[in-house]
Amino acid sequence: MKIYKSSIRRKRKRQLYYLIPAMVLWGFISWQINFSLIRLWRGIPHMFNLIGRMLQPDFSYILQVLPRLMETIEMAAVSSTLGVILGSLGALFVARNTAIHPIIPLLGNPFFTFLRTIPNLIWAAILVSIFSVGKFPGMIALTITATLITVKLLREYIETIPESVIKGVESVGATKIQTLRYGVLPMVFQQMAAVFFLVLEVNIRGATILGLVGAGGIGQILWRDLNHLRYDNLATLIILLFATILVIDLGSLWLRKGLKDLYIPAKTIPIFRLRQKVKWIVVFLLLIVGMTWLVNSLDITAERMILGLESGARMVLRMAQFEFSYAPRLVEGLMESLFIALFATVTGGVGALFLSYLTAYNTSPYPEVALFFKAVVNLLRTFPPIVVAIIFFRGVGPGPLAGAMALSIYTLGVMTKLYSEVIESTGENIQQGILITGAGKILSYRFGIVPHTFSNYISLLLYRFESNMRNSTILGVIGAGGIGTILANNIAWRNWERVGLLLAGVAILMMAVEKLSEKIRKKLV
C-alpha cells in the first residue's frame, strides 16, 4: 500500500517539476511578445467600442462596396478554377505512380514544398511590386496558392490508387496516356470537385485580405478605412466579409456532400455515347468561356504584362544573390514569429482544454450549454485571424501582442472544435468507468477522458502550431511584428537580395517545423 501511495505521490511531484519550467517558459515567451495584461485591460474599452459599432452596421455603405465584394468573389472563383486545373496536371506529374520518369517526383516534390511555405500574402506583395497595384497580382497570387494546395492534395490521393488498377488498364495494350485517362482520371475527376470547394474556401479568405498589400478586392477598401481610422466603415466591412465567408463555407459544405457519391447512369448505349460526346463539348465550351472571363477580368495590357515579366525575371535573379549580412535581422524576425506562434498555440490550446469540456455533448453539464459553445466556437473559427488582429490593433496598437492575441483566439476556436469532436467520439465506458467510482463529471473528464485522448490532443496542437507559424508570418505583413513585417518592408523597398534571404529562412524554418511535428506525431501513435 505504502509503495503505491508514494509512487503516486512521486508522480504528482514529477508533474509539478514539469509544470514549473513550463510556466517559466510561458512567462519568457509572454515577455518576448510584450504581453501585458495592463495594456490589454486598457485596450478593452476601445475594442468593445469597435465591436459595439459592428452591431450597428451602415447598410448604405454595404451597397457602396458591393461591387468590390463581387470582384473579390470573382477573384476567388476564377483563381480556384484555374488553380485546380493547373494543380491536377501538376499532381499527375509528381505522383510517384503516374510520373513519366521517377526523377520528376524526386525533384518536383521538394520544389513544391518550398513554394508552399511562402504565404499567399507574400506572393501578393511581391507580385504587386512587379505588376503594380491592382487585381492582376492578386489573381496570380491566389492561383499560385490554389495550384499548390491542389498539387499536394491530389498527389496524395493519386498515390493511393493501387498499382494493380493501373496495371489492369495497361494489360490490354493501352498507351501511357490512355492508361492515365482511363485508370487515373475517373478517380481524379471525382476528387477534383471536392478539392475545388476546399480551395475556394481558402481563396475566399485569401481574396478578402489580399487588398491589404494592394492586390485588389475588398481588402483594399478595408486597408483604406483602417488607415483613415473610419472604424464604422471597417466594422461594416468585417460583418460583410464574415457573412460572405459563412455563406460560401455553407454552400461548399452542402455541395461537397451532394457531389461525394454522385453517379447518374446512362440508361441506354446511345445515351451513353451522346453523353461521351457532349462531355467533351461542354469541357471545351467551359474552357473557352473560362479563358474569356479570365482575360476580361484581368484588366492588364500585353505591354504591362511583358514589362512585369521582365522585372520579375530580374527580381528572381536578384533574390538568388542572398545578402548574408542581413542574417541577424532574419534570425530576430524568425524568433519573434516563433514566439508569437508558440504563445498562441499554448494559450489557445490550454484554453481549449477547458472549453472543450463545455462544448462536447457527452461531457457538457447541459446539452444547451454545449450548443451555445458550439456556436461561439464556430464564430471564433470563421473570423480570419487577420481581421481579429485588426480589432486588437485598435486596442493595443500594432505589434506582436496584437498578432499573438488574434492567433490565440483563432487557435482556441479551431482547437476546441476539433478536440471536442475527438471527445464526442471516445467511448462512453472510459467516462463511466470513473463515474462509477462516485467521482463527478469534472473529475471523470480530468482523470478519464483527457488522459485517454491526450495523444490526439497533442497531435491536433502540433497541426495548430504549424498553421500558427504560417499565420504569424501573414499577420506580420499588416504590422503584427515578426518575420512578416521585415519581409513586407523589404518587399516595399525592393531589396530583393534581402527578400531572397528572408524567404529562404522562412522556408527552412517552416520545413523544419513540419518535419519535427510529423516526427512527434508518428511517435504518439
Partner: protein, 243 residues
C-alpha cells in the same frame, strides 16, 4: 501457340522463382496450373505476358520472341494476351460499360482513346462480351457497386473485348465464394468453346482444376513436376505435389 523454353526467373538477384521451365500451350487449350503457395505459378503467368523478364530462356508467341519487344510492338502483344487478376482491378468509379470498353483501347490511337471515340463495332463487341458473361443487364451500373463474382465477370468481359488469343488468369476465383467461383469458372469454359481462346489459369483449388481444365501442370519449387491431361492425373500425382 505459346512456347516457353528453359525459363529461369530470379527476383532481386537472390530469390529463384522459376528454375528451367519448358512448356507448350496449344491454341484453344484450357490449361490449369497448380502447386503450393510460392511454387512460382504467378511468376509463370507474368513471364508469359512480359510483366516479369526471365533471366534466361525464351517466350515465343508463334514465331515472335517476346523478350526484346517495347513500345508499340509490346502493346500489340499485350493486346493479344488478356490478363485476369485475382482482385479484378476494375476502375470502380466508372460504369461497367466503360470498364469493358477499356479492352478496346489497344485498337485505338492515343488521341481517339483519350476522347473516348469508340467505333460502333467497339460497342457491339463490348455488349456481346457482357452478354457472354451474363451481365447484359448491368451495362450502366457502377462497377464499384457490383458483387465480387460480378466484378470478376466484368473483368473477363473486358479481356474478351480485347479479342485476345490467350487469356491468362491468376487465381481468378480465390477471393470469391463457392457459388460465384462456379459461375466464373463456367464463364471461362463457355468462352473457351465459343471463341476458341487458349486459357491458362492458376488455381489453388485442385477440385475446380480437375473439373474444368483439360490439362494440368504441377509446379513445385519453380520446376514442372508433372504435365498431363486431366484424365491421366492420379491422386498420387496430387499428393506428391502438395507433400
Amino acid at each position: 501457340m505459346i512456347s516457353l523454353k528453359d525459363i529461369h526467373v530470379v527476383y532481386d538477384k537472390i530469390t529463384p522463382a522459376l528454375r528451367g521451365v519448358s512448356l507448350d500451350f496449344h491454341d484453344g487449350e484450357f490449361v490449369g496450373i497448380i502447386g503450393l503457395s510460392g511454387s512460382g505459378k504467378s511468376t509463370l503467368l507474368k513471364t508469359i505476358n512480359g510483366l516479369v523478364k526471365p533471366m534466361k530462356g525464351k517466350v515465343c508467341l508463334d514465331e515472335l520472341v517476346l523478350g526484346d519487344l517495347s513500345g508499340k510492338k509490346l502493346r500489340e502483344v499485350r493486346r493479344n494476351i488478356g490478363f485476369v487478376f485475382q482482385e479484378f482491378n476494375l476502375v470502380e468509379r466508372t460504369s461497367v460499360l466503360e470498364n469493358v470498353l477499356i479492352g478496346r483501347l489497344g485498337y485505338l490511337s492515343t488521341l481517339k482513346g483519350f476522347f473516348g471515340l469508340f467505333k460502333d463495332s467497339d460497342y457491339e463487341i463490348a455488349v456481346a462480351a457482357l452478354d457472354t458473361v451474363g451481365l447484359k443487364t448491368k451495362i450502366t451500373a457502377r462497377a464499384g457497386q457490383l458483387s465480387g463474382g460480378q466484378k470478376q465477370r466484368v473483368a473477363i468481359a473486358k479481356t474478351l473485348t480485347q479479342e485476345p488469343r490467350v487469356i491468362l488468369a491468376d487465381e481468378p476465383v480465390a477471393s470469391l465464394d463457392r457459388t460465384s467461383s462456379t459461375v466464373v469458372m463456367d464463364t471461362f469454359a463457355k468462352i473457351r468453346h465459343k471463341h476458341k481462346i487458349t486459357i491458362i489459369i492458376n488455381l489453388h483449388d485442385v477440385e475446380l482444376a480437375r473439373k474444368y481444365c483439360d490439362r494440368l501442370v504441377g509446379l513445385r519449387d519453380g520446376k514442372v513436376l508433372f504435365d498431363k491431361t486431366t484424365k491421366e492425373i492420379s491422386n498420387e500425382d496430387i499428393q506428391e505435389l502438395y507433400s
